[in-house]
Amino acid sequence: MLRLESVSASHGSIQALRNVSLHVSAGEIVTLLGGNGSGKTTLMRVISGIHPSSKGRLIFGGQNIAGIPAEQVLRLGVGQVPEGRQIFAPLSVLDNLLLGAYVRFKGSEKKEVWKDLEGVFGLFPVLKERERQRAGTLSGGEQQMVAIGRTLMSRPKLLLLDEPSMGLAPRVVGDIFRAIRTLPGRGTTILLVEQNAKAALRIAERGYVMETGRIILEGETEDLLNNREVQRAYLGKEYREIWE
């Protein structure tokens, strides 16, 4: 579905992505792990067309999408849930969700939009209870649900999720990740960026580990969980050098 071949990108004079290759097949949940400043968010923004790439190929659904404007990438079926949610606080939950479908309001599709809204409410029932409430008054977890729901309203084939667990209590993280896990079954493929490696590896099939703009590891979830470097850096397992 998505394929990156040796993609590089920079922020001014700083090279943020160095030769990144990865792929996501239809129906998969793939996670991208890495510390702060490793380039994960830049990578997401490059895929969704918000940030330009300087080198390499980005293939989505057989088409090279490098250099294509973000709104067009969205129409092709790549939806991004931004880091920090970025919902519209003064608007109601319902309006926030409907805004996600703005690319689809072309008369004939209206009925479909209402059906999709029911789908989002099915995924996050709490949003149905609060549909008239201003989004800014919701809890962090509920706001994250609004952000995910809003992106799902554009009917993405590929959903890019940037740190959905950020700042949330473990119980809420569990709720949200359980919902994410059901998305491939509903026809949405997931690329999930996370610092919470434990939660991400619980739902992903494969993963990549980034470090200073490079991919240093790639593998199936089980391999990553068993990798000592991943254990030390992201899963908080204790470690002492043997040579000490």
């Binding site: 040796s6 030769n19 990144v20 792929h23 391999d223 990798n227 002492r240 040579w243």
Partner: protein, 432 residues
Amino acid sequence: MIWDRRHECMPREEIEQLQLERLQSTLNRVYRNVSFYKKKFDQLKISPEDIQGMSDLIRFPLTAKEDLRESYPYGMFALTLRDVVRIHSSSGVTGKPTVTGYTRNDLHHWSQLTARVLTAGGVTKDDVVQITFKYGLFTGAFGLHHGAELIGASVIPMSTGNTAKQVMIMQDYRTTALVSTPSYALLLGRHMERQGINPKSLSLKLGLFGGEPWSEAMRQEIEESLSINATDNYGVSEVMGPGVAAECEAKDGLHISEDHFIPEIIDPQTLKPLPPGSEGELVLTTLTKEAFPLVRYRTRDITTLSYAPCSCGRTQVRMKKVLGRSDDILILKGIKIFPSQVEAILMEVEGVEPRYQLIADRIEGADTLELRVEVNEEVFFDEIKILQNISLQIERKLREIIGLSAKVKLVAPESLRPADGKIPKVVDRRKK
């Protein structure tokens, strides 16, 4: 049967994407963690970022066995021993041993890969697998052992030696699959023949052979004398051990597990990459190894790669049965000779053993070739005339098939002395 259909039958485009991803992350890791590679890359002013596509791999330096020896014991490990759960090594008879390490993930992948080998050779969970490789520092026994267990077969870890006992176990425990070197299989066959044991009275039906190059003629004799289906599998102990490549039921080349290794063919003299389909030395880059990754490792084995589709359904590239080692190729008067060719000739001659040695020499400026062959006991004490007949027969075949005249010398059984467990098949005295 195919063990891992998702990877073994992956469309070419997907294999290449996976290889690119894994190659880039492997190079990033070795550059960061292995000082040998960092130094070498820096000297050549290349970095992992220079891999834009698979064709860029040839810009990276080759790694040779000597490099591994110089970094004895742990210099080329990409992780500390803390992360290593298994250590294997070579015997070190010809130099310092080469030491390799495996993490938990490396062992997990290794079992998966040898399970592919065994499944391709016909082994299922219903089989009783007798492993006659030596259990110890060598990779052969443990590698296939774990793969067989993963499949769910019943494993008999016999280790080497004691032929009479091997046969007894084979009979009593109803072994269905034999894992050994091809020469040991031949020995087992001849032992049973001498003891008057009918191979058809055994439960044996499969043989999976590796560890040394062997000819088609040898396969035929093994299949007949043990009444089995024999397949070849290929491994390199520094790269992983068994599990790199294996024959499928088509017996037309060995599928290399390309999701774990990138194969290349180079000219062993000029070290330049050769065009597709050429015969040359196999070079392997590991893609998933954590503890002991290798970049462009020279295997010294001579083969050819074929990307043509295989009737078995696997999409992974096939390497031809290894013809010999690049150290073992003799070039005499412009003619290239592989020990395997000589072996094939000897298989057709009655009374001789496939134990031989080729000796090239230069006498008064002229290159000469001598072939020493062991004959079996009955023949050795027979009439001179019969011995002469055999030599003449071999000499004639060498001339006809290879196009070279050689002096054939028949020697007593077990008089050729092995070094490092194997008889050196080629001795080139011209080099001094």
